[in-house]
Symmetry: C2
Subunit: 207 residues, 2 copies
DNA sequence: AGGAAGAGCCTAGGGGTTCTAGGAACGCTC
DNA sequence: GAGCGTTCCTAGAACCCCTAGGCTCTTCCT
């Protein structure tokens, strides 16, 4: 019985920490949606008063930022594991599936990822997630014969498409007949062939 | 002097209506960000008490939904105008630029577009925006030799990429050296060639 | 061991928010 | 001009964010 009894009893410490608060917020985000993650709700989930959270987290916005960073880290780890030892098309498919699967498994965390970035820079610097994510994309594309600046453009296209697809899918954008899953594998096909035949500059038939 | 004088004067009607409230919310969203669009703020902008808005709009969430629908309509109109009379690559570029430009011109409205959809269905039915947007994409792709289900997949890929790019760009995802603008035109190139050489089923070299 | 220093969590409270309930003034119709 | 619906208001409950300050438990120093 570590947990506190309601009736004014001596109350054991809850053992809060910035990471535990962030995790509780992330879990809540996946359950009820990021927009319903409030200080009070997180406090309730931790069996604590809302004011207590401010010892560990600067504000609600700060908490949201931490959730976003946590999500970026987790997503990066999953992608790294999925693409380890693969190259070319295999790596592409593994990368993309890991990305989409993370968005499915943790919708709240994933949407935290999309908020216009305004996170404590000192916090960002310590979190390796976002940086590594971009690096992973570059190395995933290594097998294709791309040179700068085409490589950067390809990286950005990849990230745009994957993010756009999972985002639209989560928002219910693909409600119609054809299953989103089928479209997904065909899009990966398409991206693969695109990367193999990336139009180098100066091509593209003139009018 | 239609506007109300503060000191208990007779007060002319403000002439509110659901559309006017929605427009005020949309303008506010573009100026201060969608998350700062509150009932009180919209009421202040209209020179009215917040309780008065509930005669025209069911709730804050309802207002957000209406802003999203307004944005979808406006974006669709812009795209329709831009692509009128064009085909093939011309149409693709015009379509994409109109999309991106709308996101730039109206960031708040555009992010309203992305919220997981939970809008009054009766309202959605009356708004032609989202439906026409998809139809426009289909007809924009007509010049490419695609047949179902490839056509639907291509439409979804297009929408995913455009949405993902503008979304990441707005969130500050392309902060690094290469200008986003350059990547943008190269990505449109890439999409164009991809549509011309869409991998029909059963292709894609086996391992 | 005794005391000081520092965490961890609390209560109290101000100010902002959404939304409901009910009342007064306006404008239209008959 | 009387009636009636619409428009907007005031009042208020409930929730939220966040600050200030106090109490208690842990830890560490001497």
């Amino acid at each position: 019985m570590l947990q506190t009894e309601k009736g004014g009893m001596p109350m054991a410490r809850a053992g809060l920490t910035a990471d535990r608060v962030t995790l509780a917020g992330a879990e809540l985000a996946d359950e009820v949606g990021l927009e319903h993650v409030t200080m009070s709700a997180v406090a309730r989930r931790l069996g604590v008063k809302d004011a207590s959270l401010y010892a560990h987290v600067r504000s609600l916005e700060d908490l949201r930022g931490r959730i976003a960073l946590l999500a970026a880290d987790e997503k990066t780890v999953r992608i790294a594991e999925a693409t380890a030892g693969r190259a070319g098309r295999d790596a592409l498919v593994a990368y993309a599936n890991a990305w989409r699967q993370y968005a499915h498994d943790h919708p709240g965390r994933y949407t935290a990822t999309q908020i216009p970035i305004q996170i404590d820079p000192e916090l960002v610097a310590r979190a390796a997630g976002p940086r590594r994510a971009v690096e992973l994309t570059y190395s995933m594309l290594r097998a294709y014969a791309l040179r700068e600046p085409d490589l950067t453009d390809a990286v950005r296209l990849m990230r745009s498409t994957l993010h756009g697809f999972t985002s639209l899918e989560a928002a219910g954008g693909f409600a119609h007949a054809r299953p989103a899953e089928d479209t997904w594998v065909r899009c990966l096909d398409a991206l693969h062939t695109l990367l193999e035949h990336w139009p180098t500059h100066g091509e593209g038939e003139p009018t």
